[in-house]
């Protein structure tokens, strides 16, 4: 073991690469491996690489219910989100310049939307209810004749709430002009995603949230629905000219294997994770003054977000840090703490937003990990409440 040794409960941030994924990736790197440029199909090296890339494309497509030709490789979900948002907005600039999204989206959606606002587009930011659920009626009310894009994430990265994508997709389809983009970076392996059945126009995917490598993802662009977008970069015309640049064979092969493993995962894994989540929640709420963030019924079992009353957020994080690796409700990588905008959008005040912890489970999580987390958090919360005179 070369890494840190505390309990890892931050699988929503990233996951370790599965050994089989690493093995298949390594086969694409060395002189004796499949190192060719997949675009150089005039020789066997390129052809072999191309075969691996297309096999990976087929695996990813099959995992999300899409056609292989609909998969556009990107460097990750952030690039996929940018390509979807800027691509659709710019391609349809003459049709309309209105976009609908949600306040609780990932920054990789919100920041491109803000940039488009600076360039003259109008963006409607919808607010979910206090449990994080977006009422599709709010989308219906926001749609206008000039709406060209609706961007709604499938599973929220902070609170795990699942949005009703099918209902929102139906509304977009009825509108005539609005394309639906869905950020599904947190969905793969946590809940079913079927691109064609749900009626999604564009779907962003990430490999590293699903035991694949960092630095690779995909944008699924519906061919059946005739989705058109303008590329963000130009060059060799790879990926249907939507994402020029040499395809990183080892990365996409890794993503393909990771997604294939997700597809083959036993069904009872979700139940196992749900039991861990319930065990954690039972342990944490026995501390007292603990509030659960997000709708407990409409969320993935892999994630639990809670706020602690009477505890200062940065101190809570510092106190649990030696024992558990979890995400926090504030951007404490920066000196100026910013409370989670997602929790604030749900109506939590700054103090509760700052004192939140996001626990997320994965393939290697155990009941012992949960028990360690509960006791570390209990010690920290009780001590800080004592110091704070609560």
């Amino acid at each position: 073991m070369n890494g840190p040794s505390c309990v890892y409960l931050d699988y929503a941030a990233t996951t370790p690469v599965e050994p089989l994924v690493a093995e298949r990736m390594a086969q694409c790197l060395g002189r004796d491996g499949v190192f060719g440029n997949p675009g150089s199909t005039s020789h066997v090296y390129g052809e072999a690489a191309s075969e691996r890339v297309e096999a990976a494309r087929a695996e990813v497509a099959a995992t999300v219910g899409a056609e292989p030709a609909e998969i556009i490789w990107t460097s990750g979900a952030t690039e996929a989100n940018n390509l979807a948002i800027f691509g659709v907005a710019q391609y349809n600039a003459q049709v309309g310049r209105h976009i609908v999204t949600v306040r609780t989206e990932h920054k990789a959606v919100l920041d491109p939307c803000r940039e488009l606002e600076r360039r003259g587009w109008r963006v409607t930011y919808l607010t979910p209810d206090r449990s994080g659920v977006l009422d599709p009626a709010a989308v219906a009310a926001a749609l206008r004749p000039d709406t060209v894009l609706v961007s709604v994430m499938h599973v929220n990265n902070e609170i795990g709430v699942i949005q009703d994508i099918a209902a929102i997709a139906a509304l977009c389809a009825r509108s005539g002009s609005a394309r639906l983009h869905v950020d599904a970076a947190q969905s793969i392996g946590k809940c079913a995603v079927n691109f064609s059945e749900l009626g999604i126009d564009l779907l962003s995917l990430s490999a590293h949230k699903a035991y694949g490598p960092k630095g690779v993802g995909a944008l699924v662009v519906s061919r059946a629905r005739g989705v058109q977008l303008k590329p963000l970069q130009y060059g060799g015309g790879q990926e249907r000219a939507l994402r020029s640049g040499t395809v990183a064979t080892h990365q996409v092969v890794g993503m393909g294997v990771a997604f294939a493993l997700v597809k083959a995962a036993p069904r009872d894994e979700t139940l196992r994770i749900a039991l861990l989540r319930d065990r954690l929640w039972d342990g944490l709420r026995s501390i007292g003054g603990v509030l659960r963030n997000g709708d407990s019924e409409r969320s993935v079992p892999h994630l639990l977000n809670v706020s602690f009353e009477g505890v200062e957020g940065e101190s809570l994080v510092a106190a649990v840090r030696p024992h558990i690796a979890v995400s926090t409700g504030s951007a404490c990588t920066s000196i100026n703490q910013e409370p989670s905008y997602v929790l604030r959008a749900l109506g939590r005040d700054d103090r509760l937003a700052e004192s939140s912890l996001r626990f997320s489970f994965g393939r290697f999580s155990t009941a012992a990990d949960v028990d360690t987390a509960v006791s570390a958090v209990r010690r920290a919360v009780e001590r800080l409440r004592r110091i704070g005179g609560a």
Binding site: G310, E312, A318, Q337, G388, G389
Partner: protein, 132 residues
Amino acid sequence: MTYNELTRRYFENASGTAGVLIGPDCFRGASGSRAQGTWVQFDVQVDSGAGPARIQAVRFLAFACPHIIAVSSWLAEQTPGCEIKAQLPESVQSLRERFDVPIPKLGRLLIVEDAWIAALRAAEAARAPGPE
């Protein structure tokens, strides 16, 4: 956020947090607000023996970040035996450097200073000779 060794030590093993001090020779000062994210309270017990008044014991409560808890704890540990003076034993700037407090958190250190001075002023006022 990273912390220097001193901050970590005083945050993880904060002394001076065992309850509050109450009595005729105990004086309290507080500053800040929980709603704003930082609140500090000091209870200072004064040695009422002969000679110049000295700090006998200090307790604190803090709803605050690790830097502020560490500084408060350090004050509680370092100041017993010191003469009563309505000022920090060293400047805010010096404390900032000692605990490697980021500059944007300077305002929080001023909350510690305000709470400390309020407690010591209360002690000074109580010991000042009254009108004849």
